[in-house]
C-alpha cells in the first residue's frame, strides 16, 4: 500500500517533470532529432525533391560515391588544413590575450571590450569588410606594399585564398575563447602564484607551470568547440567565393560542398546528406581523439 503510493507519487512527479520539459522536448524533437533521423534515412536514397518527391533506395551507394568524388577530397583536405592551422592558433591567441588582460594593466576593462568586438560582429558583415581589405588595391596590400613586402591577390589567387579566410577567422573567433579563458583565470587561486614567487619563479615560469596546467579543462573545452566550429566552416567561404568554392576549389569546404549538392545541383540531396553524415563522424572522431590526448596527462 505504502509502496504503491510512493510509486504513484514518483510517477506523478515524473509526469510533472516531463510536462515542464515538454516545450524543450517538442522543439528539440522537431528541429533537431527529427531532421537527424530524416537525414540518415535520406542518405541511403537517391532523392529528387523537384517535381514531386522521388525516393529510390540505393543502399550504401551515396557513401561509396564519396570515395571517388575528387571535389569531396579537395573539400576535406581544405577543411582539415583549415582546422589544423586555425584551432591551435586561435586557442593560443585566446590564451595569450586572456593572460595579458588578466595581468592587471591600466584600462584592461576597456581592452576587454575592444578585443571582444569582432566576435559580436556578424560573420557575413565581417567577411564583406575583409573582402574590401583583401582587394587587390585594398588596405592589406597597401600596408604590405608600404612595408616593402610582396602583395597578393588574396581573393583571386588559389594559393592564398584559404589563408585569407584563416587569418580572418582567427582574428574573429579568438576573442570569444579569450572570454572563456578570462573567466577560468579568475578561478586560479592566488596562493599558487605566491608559493611560486617564494620559490623564485619568473613570470614566464609561472605562466607555463601554473596558469597553463590549471587551465587544462578549459583548454579542452575551447579546443573541442574550436574543432566543431572550424570543421563546419561555411559562411565565410561562401561569401568569399560567391558560393562556388573557387578560385579553383581552393576555398571549397565540406559544408559548402554539402550546400552545393543539396541546393545547387538537382537530385543530389541524398548524396549531400551522406556527406553531412560523414562530416559528423569525422568531427566525432576528432573530438574523441582530442579528449583522449588531454586526459592522458592528469592535472597534478
Amino acid at each position: 500500500m505504502v509502496k504503491g503510493n510512493s510509486s504513484k507519487k514518483s510517477r506523478r512527479e515524473a509526469g510533472q517533470g516531463y510536462l515542464f520539459m515538454a516545450p524543450v522536448l517538442i522543439i528539440l524533437g522537431i528541429f533537431v532529432i527529427a531532421p537527424i533521423l530524416c537525414a540518415i534515412y535520406l542518405s541511403f536514397h537517391k532523392v529528387e525533391l523537384l517535381g514531386g518527391t522521388h525516393l529510390e533506395f540505393r543502399g550504401l551507394d551515396n557513401f561509396l560515391k564519396i570515395t571517388f568524388d575528387d571535389r569531396a577530397h579537395i573539400a576535406l583536405k581544405n577543411t582539415v588544413l583549415y582546422v589544423v592551422i586555425v584551432v591551435p592558433l586561435q586557442t593560443l591567441l585566446a590564451l595569450v590575450l586572456a593572460a595579458s588582460l588578466n595581468a592587471g594593466m591600466k584600462g584592461q576593462k576597456f581592452f576587454r571590450i575592444v578585443y571582444f568586438l569582432p566576435t559580436l560582429t556578424s560573420s557575413a558583415v565581417l567577411t564583406l569588410i575583409f573582402m574590401w581589405m583583401y582587394n587587390q588595391n585594398g588596405l592589406i596590400n597597401h600596408i604590405l606594399h608600404m612595408l616593402h613586402l610582396p602583395t597578393y591577390n588574396w581573393i583571386g589567387d588559389p594559393s592564398v585564398a584559404l589563408l585569407a579566410i584563416m587569418i580572418m577567422n582567427i582574428w574573429a573567433t579568438a576573442p570569444f575563447f579569450m572570454v572563456i579563458y578570462l573567466a577560468a583565470l579568475q578561478d586560479i587561486p592566488d596562493s599558487h602564484y605566491e608559493a611560486a614567487e617564494l620559490d623564485g619563479a619568473t613570470g614566464l615560469q609561472k605562466f607555463w607551470h601554473i596558469t597553463v596546467p590549471n587551465l587544462r579543462p578549459v583548454t579542452s573545452f575551447v579546443v573541442i568547440m574550436g574543432l566543431i566550429g572550424t570543421f563546419q566552416l561555411f559562411d565565410q567561404s561562401y561569401i568569399f567565393s560567391g558560393g562556388s568554392g573557387g578560385p579553383n576549389n581552393s576555398t571549397l569546404t565540406v559544408v559548402l560542398l554539402i550546400y552545393q549538392y543539396a541546393f545547387k545541383s538537382l537530385g543530389t540531396m541524398g548524396y549531400a546528406t551522406a556527406l553531412a553524415f560523414m562530416l559528423a563522424i569525422i568531427i566525432l572522431i576528432a573530438t574523441l581523439l582530442q579528449r583522449k590526448f588531454s586526459k592522458e596527462e592528469s592535472l597534478y
Binding site: 522543439i27 523537384l50 587587390q136 558560393g243 545541383s265 538537382l266 548524396y271
Partner: protein
C-alpha cells in the same frame, strides 16, 4: 556557436507565432474572389528594365481585368531560390528561366508543358527557331523565349583609325593580325577575352568536336583543343589578348570602355552599358570573325516558364501569352535592352537595320544557343576551372582539358 543556435530557435518560434496569428484573420479575402492573383518571379535587371517590365505588366492587367499579377524579384542566387521554392510548393506561377538551366528543370517535371495551351493566333512559327528549340524537350515546348542576345565584335573606331586599319576583321586570321597592330604593350590589348566556355562554345565545336555527347563530357579531344588553341596563342605567344581582370577591369565591357582593349566580343547588354558609362567612346559592331571560313556566335536566351503546380494555369498562360506575344514583346524590347525573339517584332522595331544591333540580329540564324542538356552546368564549372589555368599558361591545354573532362564525368556520375 550556441548563441547562434538560440537566436535562430527564438527567431523560428517568433515566426511560428506570427504565422499562427496571421492565420487567425483573413481580412477582406472574399472581396476580390473574382480576381485571380498570379505571381511572376524574375531577377531585377537595371532600374530602366524594371520600369519597362512594370509597364508591360500594367498593360496586361488593363487588358485582362480579372487577373492581378504580382512581380516577385529574386535578386541573388536566382536558381537556388527558385528550386527551393519549387520544392516547397511556394514558387511563382510564372518565372524567368535561363535556357542554360532549362533541361535540368524540365527533366524533373516541375515545369508545365505549354503545347496544349497554344492556339493558332499565338503564331509559334514567328519565334526564332534556335531560341525556341532551347526550351523544347521530346518535341514539347516548356517555355517561350522572351528575348535573347548573340555576341558581336565591338571595336574601337578611334584605335582602328590610329592603327591604320580600314574596318573590322572578317576572319579570325584578320583578327589576329589586327590585334597585333592594336596592342600597345600591356596598356592596351588588341582583344579582350573571356576565357570561359559560355563565350567560346561555338569555337570549341568549330572543328567538328563535341563538348558533350550523350550526357558525358567529351571535350578532351584534339578537334576541340585545336579549335581553342588560337585563343591561348593570342594571349601567351602574341600577347595581343588579355582578360579583364589582368588589366584591373571588372568585365569585358568595362575593359573596352576604359580603352584597355580595342576589340571585345560582347552582347546586346553592352550597348546600353556603353551609352550610360562610356558615352565618349566611338565604337562600332560587326559580326564575329569567321573561324575556318564558317560564321559562328553564341546566343543567350531567357524564357517564361509555367510552374507545373500552379493553381491558376489558365491565367498563367494568359500572362505568358501576352508577355511573349507580339504586343507585349514589342513593348518589352522597344528600348533595346534585349532583342525580340519574334521575327515580326524584330522587323517592326527595325533592329536588323540598326547600325549597332544589326550584326547581333544577323547572328541569330547561325548562333549556337547556350544550352546543351542537363549536364551542361557541371561541364561548364569544370571546363572553366581548368581552361583558365591553361589560359594563364600554367599547363598545356590538352592536359588541362583532360583533367577537366575526367572530373566533370565523375561529377556527372555522382549526380546520376
Amino acid at each position: 556557436m550556441k548563441l547562434k543556435k538560440y537566436v535562430s530557435t527564438a527567431g523560428l518560434t517568433a515566426l511560428l507565432a506570427t504565422s499562427l496569428l496571421a492565420g487567425c484573420s483573413h481580412p477582406g479575402e472574399s472581396e476580390n474572389s473574382s480576381k485571380t492573383v498570379i505571381t511572376l518571379s524574375g531577377w531585377g535587371g537595371n532600374p530602366v528594365e524594371k520600369k519597362l517590365l512594370e509597364g508591360v505588366l500594367d498593360d496586361f492587367e488593363k487588358s485582362h481585368p480579372n487577373i492581378d499579377v504580382k512581380f516577385n524579384q529574386i535578386s541573388d542566387q536566382y536558381m537556388d531560390v527558385l528550386k527551393t521554392r519549387l520544392i516547397g510548393g511556394t514558387a511563382a506561377d510564372v518565372f524567368y528561366l535561363d535556357a542554360f538551366e532549362a533541361p535540368g528543370l524540365i527533366e524533373t517535371g516541375a515545369i508545365e508543358p505549354l503545347d496544349k495551351y497554344v492556339t493558332d493566333d499565338f503564331d509559334v512559327d514567328d519565334f526564332e527557331k534556335p531560341m525556341l528549340d532551347a526550351f523544347k524537350d521530346n518535341g514539347k515546348i516548356y517555355g517561350f523565349p522572351k528575348d535573347y542576345s548573340t555576341l558581336a565584335l565591338f571595336y574601337n573606331k578611334k584605335m582602328f583609325r590610329e592603327a591604320g586599319i580600314g574596318g573590322p576583321p572578317k576572319t579570325w586570321e584578320e583578327l589576329e593580325r589586327d590585334a597585333k597592330k592594336l596592342t600597345k604593350g600591356n596598356k592596351v590589348y588588341g582583344l579582350g577575352v573571356m576565357p570561359q566556355i559560355e563565350r567560346l562554345y561555338y569555337m570549341a565545336e568549330s572543328e567538328g568536336g563535341q563538348v558533350i555527347t550523350n550526357d558525358r563530357a567529351t571535350f578532351a579531344e584534339d578537334r576541340v583543343s585545336r579549335a581553342l588553341q588560337p585563343i591561348l596563342d593570342m594571349h601567351l605567344k602574341d600577347k595581343t589578348a588579355a582578360q579583364a581582370s589582368e588589366v584591373g577591369s571588372g568585365s569585358g565591357g568595362e575593359m573596352f570602355g576604359q580603352g584597355r582593349a580595342a576589340m571585345v566580343m560582347e552582347g546586346n547588354w553592352n550597348i546600353p552599358f556603353m551609352k550610360d558609362t562610356f558615352p565618349q567612346i566611338e565604337y562600332g559592331t560587326a559580326e564575329l570573325p569567321t573561324v575556318n571560313g564558317k560564321k559562328g556566335t553564341m546566343s543567350f536566351t531567357v524564357g517564361y516558364a509555367m510552374n507545373a503546380e500552379s493553381k491558376h494555369k489558365k491565367a498563367s498562360w494568359e500572362l505568358i501569352k501576352y508577355l511573349t506575344g507580339k504586343e507585349g514583346m514589342k513593348t518589352w524590347t522597344s528600348k533595346g535592352f534585349a532583342l525580340p525573339t519574334r521575327k515580326s517584332v524584330a522587323e517592326e522595331l527595325g533592329y536588323d537595320k540598326d547600325p549597332l544591333r544589326g550584326p547581333l540580329v544577323k547572328g541569330a540564324e547561325y548562333a549556337t544557343v547556350w544550352q546543351d542538356g542537363p549536364m551542361l552546368p557541371i561541364v561548364m564549372n569544370n571546363f572553366n576551372n581548368q581552361f583558365l589555368s591553361a589560359y594563364l599558361g600554367e599547363r598545356p591545354l590538352k592536359k588541362a582539358l583532360k583533367d577537366a573532362q575526367k572530373q566533370a564525368n565523375k561529377e556527372i556520375k555522382v549526380a546520376e
